[in-house]
């Protein structure tokens, strides 16, 4: 089963020009073409795209993702490198989750802050509120600034 670039764009939500850009960068080393030169994406390329998305989210650059995909072409000799890369990603993503959680807490504090301000009609109300009156869960995320 094979897909045209337009179909892949629909399936994955990645634009056609991005798919062509990835191809230009060598992300699909085994992709076939029709006689007329039209790209034929297979399930392999769809799976590669899922890994690309995963690695991109984990903070890897296109260049480094390409490096990984090259290792995949090399076979078992590169197993150690590939393993190490994923363990490194694991740590990075753990850090990202922690940071995102802190961000979330700050945002929740701000939501409370502005709800309180709007209810009172003025920002002075939450700004001057004694700490004990701030809901416990968000108390410690208080910043003085607006």
């Amino acid at each position: 089963m094979s897909y045209s670039i337009g179909e892949v764009a629909n399936i994955t939500g990645i634009t056609i020009s991005t798919l062509r850009y990835y191809d230009r960068e060598g992300m699909f080393p085994n992709m076939e073409r029709s006689n007329g030169g039209i790209r034929m994406f297979s399930d392999t390329e769809i799976e590669t795209l899922q890994i690309i998305e995963c690695l991109k989210t984990s903070g890897l650059s296109i260049k480094d993702i390409k490096q990984f995909l090259n290792w995949c072409q090399e076979g078992d000799d590169s197993l150690q490198k590939r393993r190490d890369m994923f363990y490194e990603r694991l740590e990075v993503v753990e850090k990202q989750m922690e940071e995102l959680q802190k961000t979330m807490n700050t945002i929740k504090f701000k939501c409370w802050y502005y709800d309180t301000a709007l209810a009172a009609g003025t920002e002075e109300t939450p700004k001057n509120m004694p700490v004990e009156e701030i809901p416990e869960e968000i108390r410690k995320y208080r910043y003085k600034c607006d």
Copy 2:
């Protein structure tokens, strides 16, 4: 109490050139200068930097962050806008956390995959392993690609 740009760089980990860039972009509308023209950061600016970091992590651009800081200057008239912005951020960050969790799961699968491959000396081992033998927690995150 006020801080030089170098001190702020040390405190926050943000480079001096980035701090000057933020200033150029108007992120510190109330920052004072010494007679000689040297920036004097106060606690207000430090707090603004914390909010900038928070909003940046939540996916807002510098331009939009500046927009928010402008609203803060406007006083209570902009309370609703600011509230809405934070509720929007709340949703965005929730989506980000979900995506990061999926990414994490995929990476954990890959860690298992490569550990198994390395133990066996070949990728064929995890690749051909029947689903029942894959640890339960990660089973569903399996991708066929390397």
